[in-house]
Amino acid sequence: MVKKLLAFFIIIVMVFILIGCGKSVETETNQEAVLGEGNELKVLNMALFWLDANIEPTEGWHGWTLSRAGIGENLVQFDENMNLKAVIAESWETVDERTIIFHIREGVKFHNGKAVDAEAVKKSIERALDISNRDDVKFPLTSMEADGHKLTIVTEDAYPTLLNNLADPVFTIVDVSAAEDPNFKYQPIATGPFKVTSFTPDVGLTLEKHDEHWSGEVAVDIVNVKYIQDGSVRTMALQSGEIDLATQINARDLSLFENNDEFVVHKGPNLRIFLLRFNMDKPYMQHLAFRQALAYGIDKETYARELVNGVPAKGPFTDELSFGHQGEDFYKYDPQKANQLLDEAGFIDTNGDGIREYQGENIVLKYISRTNHGNDANNIGIAMQSQFKDIGIGVEVVQVENYSDMAKNGDYDLKWERWTSAPTADPENFLSSYGTDGPGNVGNYSNPEFDRLYDELRITFDKGSRDQLGMDGAELLMQDVASLFLYYQEGTVVTNKKVDGIYRFISEVYYIDERVQVK
C-alpha cells in the first residue's frame, strides 16, 4: 500500500508538471545571474504603472514604455519643462511652412552598433507612418529626402505641429532593417541610453546600458523595469527596497515618503485633465444657466485636495503650458449662486421632493465612467451626488464596462473623460473634440464661434498665434461651460536616496534618461 501511495504522489506531480511545463515557454530571465556578475555593477530597479503586451513603438501607446525607460529616442523631444530639445537631430531649420531640415547628430548608434544617418531615420519615420494605428499623430507627407546626415521633410499643406508630432514616441527612431525579426516588438533596436535584454509580458523588462550612446558613458549598468499596476503596491515595493524609483504614487501614500530622509519626492501638475463631458442632446443641457449652475455647484477645490490629490482645473490646459489659462476660474464653488440661476431659469422644484423638475420630470443626471477609470471616477461621482443635492439636482453614478455604448446611445448626462490634453505641447488635438463634427465630440457640443477659432488654429503656423488661439478656444469652452473641467492630476516621482539625476517630466512621457545615476 505504501508503494501505491508513492505511485499516486508521483502521478499527481507528473500531471501537474506535464500540464504546466510542457506548454510553457521559457521567457523568464535569470536576473540573479546578471546581478551576480560583480558588485561593482550599478543597478536601478524601477516600476512602471503601465505596460502593454509588447513594446513595438508604432503600436498604440507602447512607445511610451520605450521613452519612459530610456530605451527609445526621437529626432526631437520635449524636455522636463515641455520645451523642444534636439536629440537625434542635432539641430533643425524651418525652411517654409511645409519644409523642415534636420541635421542628424554625428555618432548616434543603434543598440546593435549600426550608425544612424538620415537614411535610417527616414526609414524609421516611414515605417511608423506606414504601420502605426495612431492616426492622431500621423501627418500628410509629400516627400522625405535623406542626404548623409541631412533629412528634409516636406508636408502636403502647412503643417504647424510637425515637430510636436515627431516628438511623439510613435516616431521613436528604430533600426528598420532589424524590424523584420519577430522578436523586434519585444526587443526593439533603438538608440536610447538603455537597450532591452529581455521582455516578459506583465512582469517587466531588463535593460542594459547602451555602450555607444551618443552622450558618452551612461552611469547605470543594469535597469530592471518592473510592471506594478497598483499604486499601493508601488509604495510597498519602494519601502521594502524592491524598487528604487516609482511614479504615480497614491496621494495618501506620499506622506510616507515626504517626511522621510530615505526618499526624494518630485511632484507637480502633469498634463492629464479629468473632465465631465455633457450630453448636449438633453434639452436642459442646452440652457447656459443650467450648465453654469452645475459648474457653480461643485467644489472642485475640495475634490482635488481631499479625494484625488490633484490640482483643481480651471480649463482643459494646465497653466504649466504656454497656452494654459492664467486667470481666475470663471465659476468658483457657490451653491447659492447655482440655486439662484436655476430658479431664475425656471428649473423649480414644484412637488417639494428636493429635486427640481424640468417639464414635469425630476432632473436626475446620469454620471457614467468606465470600470477601469477606477475609484477616483466613482469617488468624484459620489461627492457630486451629495453636493448636487444642495442645488436640487439628482445624480445617478454608474460605472460600467460598456461605457462607450452608453455614450454612443446618448444614455448619459455626464461622461467621465481622462485626457492627456497636450501630449505634444499643442492645443489642437484636445480642442478638436469640441468642434461641431470633431472626432470624440460624443456630447454633440456645437458653438459656431468656437468652430471659427478652431478652423483658424488648424492652419495657423506661428507658435505664438497658435498659443493665443488655443487659449482663446479653451477660454470660450470654459465660459460656455462646454464641460466640467475637474482637476489636473498631480504627477509624482519618488526615488530612494540611492538614485540621482531624475527629473519629473510634466508630460510623463519620460522617467529616466542618460542623466540617471545610482550611488
Partner: protein, 315 residues
C-alpha cells in the same frame, strides 16, 4: 477496466464539448462592442469607419453557429484565436501564465497535503482532548476566513510592517510563500476535518483494536495500518482540492498581483478580451476534468471495492 476507462473518456470528451458550447454562448450574448473596447483602451475615440472595419476584421458580424464552428475548429487544433489586447495568439499568453499558476498551485498543494495530514491525524489521535479542540477551532476559522481578507492582512503584516517578504519578485521564494499560504489556509481547514474523520473511522476498525491488543505502538499503527487504508479518502481529497485550488487562484493572484492565469482572466474581463477569457475558461475546465478523470481512474485502480460506474463524488 480498459473498456470502462474508454467509456469514461468518451463521456469526458462530451462534457468538454458541452463546456465549449457554454463558454462560447456566454461570450456571444455578452454586451459591449469588442471592437470599440479594443480601440478605446488608451484614451482615444475611434471613428465609425475604423470601428466597422475592425468589427469586420474580428468576424463579429458573422452568425452565431458560424462563429462557434470556426472557434471550435481552431480549438481542436490548439488555436484559441488572437488576444484582442496583446494581439498575439491566446495560446502564447496562456503559455506564459500557466507556469506561474502551476507553481503557485503546486506549492499550495504541498502545504495542503502536509498540514491537513498532520493536523488531521493529530486531531484524530487526540480525539476530544484539548489539542483536538484547538485544531478543530482553527480549522473552523480557516474555513470561515475570506481568502482576500487573509491575503491583505498577511501583506499588511509581513510585507508592510515586518518587511519579511516581498511581492514584486514572482520568481523568488520570498514572494511565493504568502500567496501559497493564503491559498492553502481555507482548504487546510476543510480537509483537516475530513482526514480526521477518515482516520477516526479506520481507528475504530477491528484490526486496529487487534494491533493495539498485541501491543503495537500507536505511531506504528497509524503509519502501517491506518494511513494506507485511509488513502482512498486522501485521494478523493486531491480530486476535490483541484477545483478549490483552481478557483482560489483567481482571488489570491488578484490580491498578490501574481502574474498567473487568474490575474490574466481579470485583466481579460477589464479589457473585454473575449478570446483570452474564453481561453482561460476552457483551459481551466479541461485541466479540471482531466485531473478529475485521472483521480477517478487511480481511485478505481487502488480500490476495486468502489463499484465501477458508481456516482462520482464531487464536493
Amino acid at each position: 477496466m480498459k473498456k470502462y476507462i474508454f467509456r469514461r473518456f468518451l463521456q469526458v470528451l462530451l462534457v468538454i464539448l458541452g463546456a465549449t458550447f457554454l463558454t462560447f454562448t456566454l461570450t456571444y450574448i455578452s454586451p459591449g462592442d469588442a471592437a470599440e473596447i479594443l480601440l478605446t483602451a488608451h484614451d482615444t475615440v475611434p471613428t465609425e469607419e475604423v470601428l466597422e472595419r475592425t468589427r469586420e476584421e474580428m468576424g463579429l458580424n458573422d452568425p452565431f453557429m458560424l462563429q462557434y464552428g470556426r472557434w471550435l475548429k481552431g480549438l481542436s487544433q490548439g488555436d484559441l484565436g488572437i488576444s484582442y489586447r496583446a494581439k498575439v495568439p491566446v495560446m502564447d499568453v496562456l503559455a506564459q501564465r500557466i507556469p506561474m499558476t502551476v507553481k503557485l498551485s503546486i506549492t499550495a498543494l504541498c502545504f495542503l497535503v502536509f498540514f491537513s495530514l498532520l493536523l488531521g491525524i493529530l486531531s484524530a489521535i487526540y480525539q476530544n482532548r484539548f489539542f483536538d479542540y484547538i485544531i478543530r477551532l482553527l480549522s473552523f476559522f480557516g474555513i470561515s476566513i475570506p481568502s482576500f481578507w487573509l491575503g491583505l492582512l498577511l501583506i499588511y503584516w509581513f510585507v508592510v510592517k515586518m518587511r519579511y517578504f516581498t511581492i514584486t519578485n514572482p520568481n523568488e521564494l520570498k514572494s511565493i510563500l504568502l500567496p501559497a499560504i493564503t491559498l492553502t489556509i481555507p482548504l487546510v481547514g476543510r480537509y483537516t476535518r475530513q482526514i480526521r474523520a477518515s482516520v477516526l473511522e479506520e481507528l475504530s476498525q477491528d484490526y486496529v483494536l487487534g494491533a493495539r491488543a498485541r501491543g503495537t505502538k500507536e505511531i506504528k499503527i497509524i503509519f502501517q495500518h491506518v494511513l494506507p487504508n485511509a488513502i482512498i479518502g486522501i485521494i478523493t481529497l486531491f480530486g476535490m482540492s483541484i477545483a478549490a485550488l483552481l478557483s482560489g487562484t483567481v482571488i489570491v493572484e488578484n490580491v498578490f498581483l501574481w502574474p498567473g492565469l487568474g490575474s490574466m482572466a481579470l485583466e481579460a474581463i477589464e479589457y473585454r478580451d473575449y478570446p483570452l477569457l474564453q481561453g482561460y475558461v476552457i483551459f481551466m475546465s479541461i485541466v479540471y476534468v482531466a485531473l478529475n478523470f485521472v483521480v477517478e481512474i487511480v481511485t478505481q485502480y487502488l480500490d476495486p471495492r468502489v463499484t465501477i460506474g458508481a456516482e462520482r463524488k464531487i464536493k
